[in-house]
């Protein structure tokens, strides 16, 4: 297919084998090196989208990252749909499928465009006014009628629904100098820093390095054409091993201490060579940052400035030089700045018809202006565009004196493209994000970097220094400075000085019908900002939120300063007095994929499994998540429900013996001459008198006196303790201890080492536990007398060094075998084999919970909620009464802690023995129902196989005094009666423990 707007030279893209791509269902041919925008423009396609609010037809405005209009969805096949991409940045590849957005049913005929007719309805502050609208309309009408309509009408692309099959990588990296932007300034900086030996990263968001040098056809650097200098500079940099060059890489945010986020579009280059890596996020920690991010051309503000075919002037120069694309056949230029003359001259030189240059300045002068006149280009000075016409593409512009409102004075000029230049805005985004100050530069009508943060510099156009010579000079100086090198001088020629004017406000023509747009993406026009000011907005922050100007995905790259000027004019203030909005990261949108990296699916969080886990999996266990751990929840047999499996596991454990994988328990080895003294500080219990070989149940409080963890403290030697914590509390308890040790008790000679994963723990519980393990244990006498309840012995199990504790969380005779993790599975299987002849059962965490509840053993975090004291739990016996101090001791004497009526830990037996209360259910007094006084809540509730009925544990106000009372649990529209009992349902005397 021919490309009618591709000029003979073809720019930098070569004819070669054509690429085929689809846009809105139409097939086109393009060339390698094209962007979607340049390829469409080569076919004369300017109409690429519909605007957000009014659904006005919109065309390509720019040639770069600042593009507000040409947002497209790109469909790369299954799961690879990306909405809201800027067509100016989408690199063309064969088979690319792109669609325009925000139009229905089609781009050329959009029903939503009736919004333009109801434009008054969508005035500034529309959302606020609607949300705050008359109550008469009613919330229901809003929810059911208006909101769906607004959401349907005001959308930007569609979110993909399929999982993303691509790969995203993330790397941290470090460098001496990160140089952002590879135009003239960035290249000069990289050359200077690289020559001086610095470790340099040079990044640019475009596929090719060079910035504006890529479209420079007249200027020379050191007597060479700009393009030749660029080629030589890139070759020199490529030869420096200390310089890393990353193209297609957007520096999207500057964070504390020079951490800069870069997003590299790897897949755009060559997806085959990159293992399906689509994007790579670099977190760069740079000693120094040189910003060479250039400047963005500003649109002019006139009625109908949003018609397809109305573009930024320099963009037309870029399309011509880089892609060989003429943006029209008869091009009109409107400007307040000399730079647009260069565009007109280049177009004329390429044979494109130039209808004239409309210059808002009364008497433009200078080398470029004269050159244009000399080339026969008509210059209309002191004139402004008053309006445009054309349905889906500009056809004609009306030109009149700047201050005139009279249609009679207007001249009509036919054109198929209108190029506008309202001056240049330095891209100070990263400078501002780095906490650099901004100062107003009246000469260029823009904010420029002021005082910079440490180790951040700006060079060239982003610093307000326009022109090739300034870019090279500042870039070179910055690069030399950060690397300790010396500066050099570049000689430039044929780069005429360019100036502009900013304080020109053309009057609105009486004949103009269209809005004059400021923010193209969010459809904010001059009248919206003026209305916001009339309605009382004074700061630009308010104007922004009221009108949504600058709040679209482009963050107002092309519009913010224009909006600021309109607001300042309406307020009668100078621009700096109106303020400036925040430059937020990211500079351009970053995909969720890039931010997530490989941290998804199985790699989102560590999935921690115990050494015994493979055995449990092979047995068909159901698992539950406990923190990051996977724990065996229960072991269902064929056809068994969870309740049946749990009941069987409980019954069999109490009848003979059960095996439980307790490896996830937190373990801390506390060693040193002051170990006992330190533990006395950290736990409520006394330990000085705990003999080596004995264990003690221990409670840990916070400063407020509330229980935060519990565990077993086993004394292995006078100076060595093996301390267990809850599974979820392992890291927290260690940190808690370290915190106190380092800040409160630094004089103590005691050290803490986590041994949670050193030991696999096999709990063997039940009346036959001793029988099962005795054949496997060496060097330990497991008899009742030699190893009583709550003792610890070191010896060997299955030949491996082991710590065997006689402890019980079931109320039955129990042992916990600790062996080094790598032997955990082997020992488990050996115990299991021994248990086979003794009706052993493996039980999971659910049966563990049930059996401990039958005994009234507390689970910290389930039966406690951070407001529970030892006495509340009935565990006052665990407090060492003669201890001078421990963490939380003082708080236990606080008036509210010793006051009567606190919630206390009790048991509940529902009148209906089959009814299992909900955990968390409220408990009310004897009056029952909604009128009852709230007394507490159920903390644990199960069906107890040992009792053959339901049981519950609860925190109830004044609970121990209520034993025998009947309270009520209101739930699901009815009220369940329950009797308060002591929280020990099974073997209250503990006779089964001492066997």
């Amino acid at each position: 297919m021919s490309e009618p707007f591709r000029i003979a030279t073809g720019g930098d893209v070569k004819a070669g084998a054509p690429l085929t791509f689809m846009f809105d269902g139409v097939s086109y041919a393009g060339r390698a090196g094209d962007t979607l925008a340049s390829a469409l423009l080569a076919h004369g396609v300017h109409l690429v989208g519909r605007s957000y609010k009014y659904h006005r037809p919109r065309g390509v405005l720019s040639a770069g990252a600042e593009e507000p209009n040409a947002l497209v969805g790109v469909d790369g096949g299954a799961g690879r749909f990306t909405p809201n991409l800027r067509a100016t940045q989408v690199e063309l590849h064969d088979g690319l499928v792109a669609t325009s957005q925000n139009r229905w049913p089609s781009l050329a005929f959009d029903l939503g465009a009736v919004n333009s007719l109801g434009a008054r309805f969508f005035s500034a502050g529309f959302y606020y006014k609607t949300f705050m609208g008359p109550r008469a309309a009613g919330l229901r009408a809003w929810k059911n009628v208006f909101e769906p309509i607004v959401r349907q009408a005001a959308g930007l692309g569609a979110a993909p629904t399929a999982p993303d099959p691509d790969r995203y990588a993330q790397f941290y990296t470090h460098c001496d100098a990160l140089i952002v932007g590879a135009g003239a300034a960035g290249l000069a900086a990289a050359l200077a820093a690289g020559r001086a030996g610095a470790d340099v990263i040079l990044c640019d968001e475009q596929a090719r390095f060079g910035g504006s040098l890529l479209q420079e056809r007249t200027a020379t650097i050191d007597d060479a054409p700009a393009s030749a200098w660029l080629e030589a500079a890139l070759a020199a940099l490529a030869a420096m091993p200390n310089v890393r060059m990353v193209a297609r890489t957007q520096a999207f945010g500057h964070h504390a201490q020079n951490l800069v986020g870069l997003c590299e579009r790897v897949g755009d280059r060559d997806s085959a060579a990159s293992e399906g890596v689509r994007e790579r996020l670099w977190q760069v920690r740079a000693r120094d940052v040189v910003l060479a991010t250039g400047a963005i051309e500003r649109p002019l503000v006139f009625p109908g400035n949003d018609r397809p075919g109305v573009m930024l002037a320099e963009a037309a120069r870029a399309y011509l030089a880089r892609w060989g694309v003429a943006v029209g056949r008869r091009v009109l230029v409107a400007t307040t700045h000399d730079s647009a003359y260069r565009v007109a001259l280049d177009l004329r030189a390429a044979g494109v018809g130039v209808a004239g240059v409309v210059d808002l300045r009364d008497a433009p002068t200078g080398e470029l202006v004269e050159a244009a006149r000399g080339a026969g280009i008509r210059v209309l000075a002191g004139r402004a565009i008053k309006s445009t016409s054309g349905r889906l593409r500009i056809r004609e512009a009306r030109i009149g004196p700047v201050a005139s409102t009279e249609a009679a004075q207007e001249e009509r000029i036919a054109c198929d493209a209108l190029l506008m230049c309202g001056g240049w805005t330095p891209s100070v985004h990263l400078h501002a994000q780095s906490r650099g100050k901004l100062v107003w530069a009246p000469a260029i009508g823009a904010f420029v970097p002021g005082q910079a943060a440490a180790h951040v510099r700006s060079a060239g156009a982003c610093n307000g220094a326009f022109g090739l010579a300034a870019a090279l000079r500042e870039g070179d100086a910055a690069g030399a400075a950060v690397a300790g090198g010396s500066a050099r001088a570049y000689a430039t020629a044929h780069d005429p000085p360019q100036t502009g004017a900013r304080d020109i406000a053309p009057a609105r023509s009486a004949a103009a019908k269209d809005k004059a747009f400021l923010d193209f993406q969010n459809d904010v026009a001059v009248e919206d900002v003026e209305l916001a000011v009339r309605e009382g907005m004074r700061s630009i922050e308010h104007v922004k939120r009221y009108t949504t100007t600058g709040m679209a995905t482009d963050q107002g790259k092309t519009s913010n300063l224009n909006a600021l000027e309109v607001a300042a004019r309406a307020l009668g203030k100078a621009v700096p007095e109106v303020g400036l909005t925040t430059y937020r990261s990211p500079y351009t949108p970053v995909t969720f994929g890039a931010l997530a990296g490989a941290s998804r699916g199985d790699l989102f969080d560590p999935v921690r499994r115990t050494p015994i886990d493979p055995w449990a999996q092979a047995q068909g266990a159901a698992f539950e998540d406990v923190g990051l751990w996977k724990r065996a929840h229960y072991f269902p047999r064929a056809g068994e429900s969870m309740a049946q499996a749990v009941a069987r596991e409980c019954r069999q454990t109490r009848a003979s013996v059960g095996l439980f994988d307790a490896s996830t328990l937190g373990k801390i080895e506390v060693v040193g001459p002051d170990a006992a003294a330190f533990l006395e500080k950290m736990y409520t219990n006394p330990f000085a008198g705990l003999a080596p070989g004995r264990c003690r149940y221990a409670l840990m409080l916070n400063e407020a006196g509330f229980v935060i963890d519990d565990g077993v403290v086993a004394r292995l030697a006078p100076d060595r303790f093996h301390v267990t914590t809850t599974t979820g509390g392992a890291a927290r308890v260690l940190h808690h201890m370290e915190d106190y040790l380092q800040t409160e008790f630094p004089q103590m000679k005691v050290w803490l080492t986590s041994t949670s994963e050193q030991w696999a723990v096999i709990a063997v519980q039940g009346p036959r536990a001793r029988d099962v393990i005795t054949p496997l244990v060496e060097e330990i006498d497991l008899s009742r007398e030699a190893t009583p309840h709550m003792s610890v012995r070191e010896g060997r199990v299955c030949g491996f060094a082991a710590r065997v504790m006689r402890v019980s969380f079931t109320g039955e005779l129990g042992f916990e075998i600790n062996v080094p993790s790598e032997h955990g599975r082997a020992v488990w299987e050996a115990v299991w084999a021994e248990g086979a002849s003794r009706e052993a059962v493996a039980y999971g965490t659910e049966a563990m919970h049930v059996m401990r509840a039958e005994k009234g053993y507390v689970i910290v975090g389930q039966d406690t909620d951070g407001t529970v004291t030892p006495d509340d739990l009935g565990l006052g016996w665990a407090i060492g009464k003669n201890k001078r101090d421990f963490v939380g001791k003082r708080s236990l004497a606080r008036p509210d802690i010793v006051a009567a009526g606190r919630k206390q830990f009790v048991g509940l037996l529902t009148e209906d023995p089959a009814f299992v209360a909900e955990e968390g259910a409220q408990i009310v007094d004897a009056r029952g129902g909604a009128g009852g006084a709230a007394l507490g809540h159920v903390t644990s509730a199960y069906f107890s196989p040992a009792l053959g009925r339901s049981i519950a544990l609860a925190l109830v106000a004044n609970g121990r005094n209520r034993i025998g009372e009947t309270l009520h649990i209101p739930i699901m529209g009815r009220t369940i009666a329950a009797r308060v009992v002591a929280p020990t349902f099974h073997d209250p005397q503990g006779a089964l423990l001492d066997v």
């Binding site: 790969r167 995203y168 990588a169 993330q170 790397f171 941290y172 990296t173 470090h174 470790d199 790897v266 060559d270 060579a273 990159s274 293992e275 399906g276 890596v277 790579r280 977190q283 920690r285 990296g597 490989a598 941290s599 199985d602 790699l603 969080d605 560590p606 999935v607 921690r608 499994r609 115990t610 050494p611 493979p614 751990w629 080895e669 060693v671 040193g672 001459p673 000679k749 050290w751 803490l752 080492t753 986590s754 041994t755 949670s756 994963e757 050193q758 030991w759 496997l776 060496e778 060997r796 299955c798 030949g799 491996f800 060094a801 080094p820 993790s821 790598e822 032997h823 599975r825 082997a826």
Partner: protein, 188 residues
């Protein structure tokens, strides 16, 4: 009962795509101890181990298959590849007798890997924010640090050779991410 019963020293881990640019090997069984205490304790332990105790924090000293990594002002990680902990525990305890210290066997707590090749440092930097360039992390440097959501000990053995130690249940996460990073660095 005999010590001969087969052990499974490393947990099952995802495969790492070894090639010339980066390869990952498990170090297998090793004796490991955390030594806490003051400098004299480290000196005595070093003598018993036959390794010069590293004086500077974040440095490691090695002799043969034995090494001492100084991870903090009062913390050293002792590693003896291929050894069983029992024998070493005895000689260390003997050497340290009478000097306040804490010596804790963590042989089974963690597992060790060697990541080798031109891309090794790049892959570590997929999850570790430290500056791993020669000037900041020279050969012989060692530290406890993070790799995404896991804690690791990182020790640079040679220019392109890195030892990683990680708690055993975090190993699949670490290796999984290193393997993903290898693919993410395919063109680097």
């Amino acid at each position: 009962m005999s010590e001969a019963r087969a052990a499974n020293p490393t947990p099952p881990t995802p495969a790492f795509p070894d090639d010339a640019e980066a390869s990952l090997q498990s170090v297998g069984a090793a004796a490991r101890f955390v030594l806490r205490g003051e400098t004299p304790a480290a000196r005595l332990a070093g003598e018993a181990l036959g390794v010069a105790a590293p004086g500077r924090i974040n440095r490691a000293e090695a002799a043969g298959l034995r090494a001492m990594l100084r991870l903090g002002p009062d913390e050293w990680l002792l590693v003896a590849d291929g050894e069983a902990p029992a024998g070493l525990a005895g000689s260390l305890a003997q050497a340290l007798d009478g000097t306040p210290h804490s010596l804790v066997d963590v042989s089974a707590r963690q597992v060790g890997f060697v990541l080798d090749g031109r891309l090794a440092a790049r892959l570590i930097s997929a999850g570790c924010p430290l500056d791993l360039r020669d000037g900041a992390f020279p050969v012989g440097a060692a530290t406890r640090t993070i790799f995404l959501k896991a804690e690791i000990v990182l020790w640079r053995r040679a220019a392109q050779t890195w030892r990683l130690e990680v708690w055993r249940s975090f190993a699949p996460y670490l290796i999984g991410h290193l393997a993903e990073a290898r693919r993410g660095a395919a063109d680097l």
